[in-house]
């Protein structure tokens, strides 16, 4: 079981992924954007942070840069459904700036668990 912080601005997505993670036995906290996540990370330690890319306030890539700088040992899984740029572009950039694993939305349960395991490995 891992303590996971999940960040996504879409409530439906946030709740669904939370269900999927909890179903596999993980403990999940949630945040709606990067700025909120940075605050949550100061309150308790997490084994893994799962972040969307396109979000208001502080987007996933800006958040990852900031969080990676503050918490060099933290583990990050970046998820994206694309946007102005393609999914691959976002995820490639996330990998380049320090994501431990990446995953494109939507995903099946086993794909999510494989990505979580890869990020924690």
């Amino acid at each position: 079981m891992a303590r996971i912080l999940l960040i996504d601005d879409e409530l439906l997505v946030l709740e669904s992924i939370k269900f999927m993670l909890e179903d596999c036995g993980h403990a999940v906290d949630t945040a709606r954007h990067g700025a909120q996540a940075l605050y949550e990370m100061t309150t308790k330690p997490y084994d893994l942070v799962i972040s969307d890319v396109v979000m208001p306030e502080l987007d996933g890539l800006q958040f990852l840069r900031e969080a990676r700088r503050k918490y060099p040992d933290a583990r990050f899984l970046v998820i994206s459904g694309g946007g102005r740029r393609s999914v691959d572009d976002y995820l490639d950039e996330a990998s380049a700036i320090g994501a431990d694993a990446v995953l494109s939305k939507p995903f099946k349960m086993d794909e999510l668990m494989t990505a979580v395991a890869a990020a924690l490995a």
Partner: protein
């Protein structure tokens, strides 16, 4: 473009001036004044004969100059209009790409609960429960939508990833049998690719989808009738002949797919590369095939052209750059 027009205008002025001088000299040499004097009832006090001769010589070169200038200004205007049309078209494609990207993002996000929750329910449902099949259908449907959206996103992609390459021969090896099997019996299919042995600047998936798409369009164009479909892949050098004249002088693989179908009427021809434009019946096509091919080919530095004649058939000509030093 306008510099070229300026240069041509200067040349026209010089030519007109020389023409006036030459005509004046000729008229003077043959003594046109005397000729006119003798053959007409000219006034006896004509003295400025040279001047009169020059004035007589003016209309022809000036008329020619006016004609040339009007032609030139029409050509410049046409080129500007064409450039404006091209720009408007590019903006439209760009905004459609952004729209497609935005829609894909929205759909991908909303598919997370559909796919994820249906699968969770499926996992929690006993194997002998009759409701399982319904949940399986939701999962399968969501997966299909995910694949379709991935295709749209691929089209919306503008800056691409690292460029891939592929061998033309191996791509044809992979798909030639499939093309022959799927070609209706009333269509005579000819595939020639003897000279196209090199590597080109796009991925094997993209080259396969280009050939299969153009093949599919040709088959559909000849639907239900006898005809001939030719797929020819050759190596050419840009500028080698009329078809490649606008290409830089690199080596290209030229893929020509021609059919003897009904051809493409003028109103449709202008729009065939637009995303979501299709002449196929509902469910027959997304209207993304040719738009995707054009985007892929142009991103690789190539181009796609179409030659068509109503009643005679259509030929699609694709030029894809070959790798430097490739055999």
């Amino acid at each position: 473009m306008d510099q070229d027009a300026n240069r041509r205008m200067k040349i026209d002025f010089v030519v007109a001036f020389l023409a006036i001088a030459v005509l004046a000299a000729v008229f003077y040499a043959i003594d046109l004044f005397d000729l006119l004097y003798r053959t007409t009832r000219a006034h006896e006090d004509w003295e400025l004969d040279e001047l009169i001769i020059v004035i007589l010589a003016l209309p022809a070169p000036l008329g020619w100059l006016a004609y040339r200038l009007s032609r030139l200004s029409v050509a410049v205007m046409e080129r500007r209009l064409a450039a404006e049309r091209e720009l408007a078209h590019a903006r439209k494609i760009e905004s459609l790409g952004l729209l497609a990207g935005g829609m894909a993002h929205e759909i991908n996000n909303q598919l997370v609960p559909v796919l994820g929750m249906a699968e969770m329910l499926l996992n929690a449902t006993p194997a002998d429960n009759a409701q399982r099949r319904k949940l399986e259908l939701i999962v399968q449907g969501a997966e299909r939508v995910r694949d379709a959206v991935a295709k749209v996103l691929k089209f919306a992609r503008r800056d691409g990833g690292p460029s891939e390459t592929c061998g033309v021969t191996s791509v044809f090896d992979n798909i030639e049998d499939m093309l022959r099997i799927s070609c209706p019996s009333q269509i005579v299919l000819t595939i020639e690719r003897v000279q196209a042995a090199g590597r080109v600047n796009i991925s094997a998936d993209d080259l396969e989808s280009i050939v299969i798409n153009l093949f599919g369009n040709a088959v559909q164009a000849m639907e239900g009738r006898h005809g001939e479909l030719r797929i020819v892949a050759t190596q050419v050098k840009g500028g080698a002949d009329g078809r490649g004249r606008d290409l830089p002088a690199n080596r290209f693989v030229r893929l020509v797919v021609s059919d003897t179908g009904p051809g493409i009427p003028a109103g449709v021809l202008d729009r065939i590369f637009e995303p979501f434009f299709t002449t196929k019946e509902a469910g027959g096509g997304t209207g993304l095939g040719l738009a995707h091919i054009k985007a892929v080919v142009e991103a690789a530095g190539g181009r796609i052209d179409v030659e068509t004649e109503v009643g005679a058939g259509t030929t699609m000509i694709v030029h894809i750059p070959m790798l430097q030093g490739a055999a």
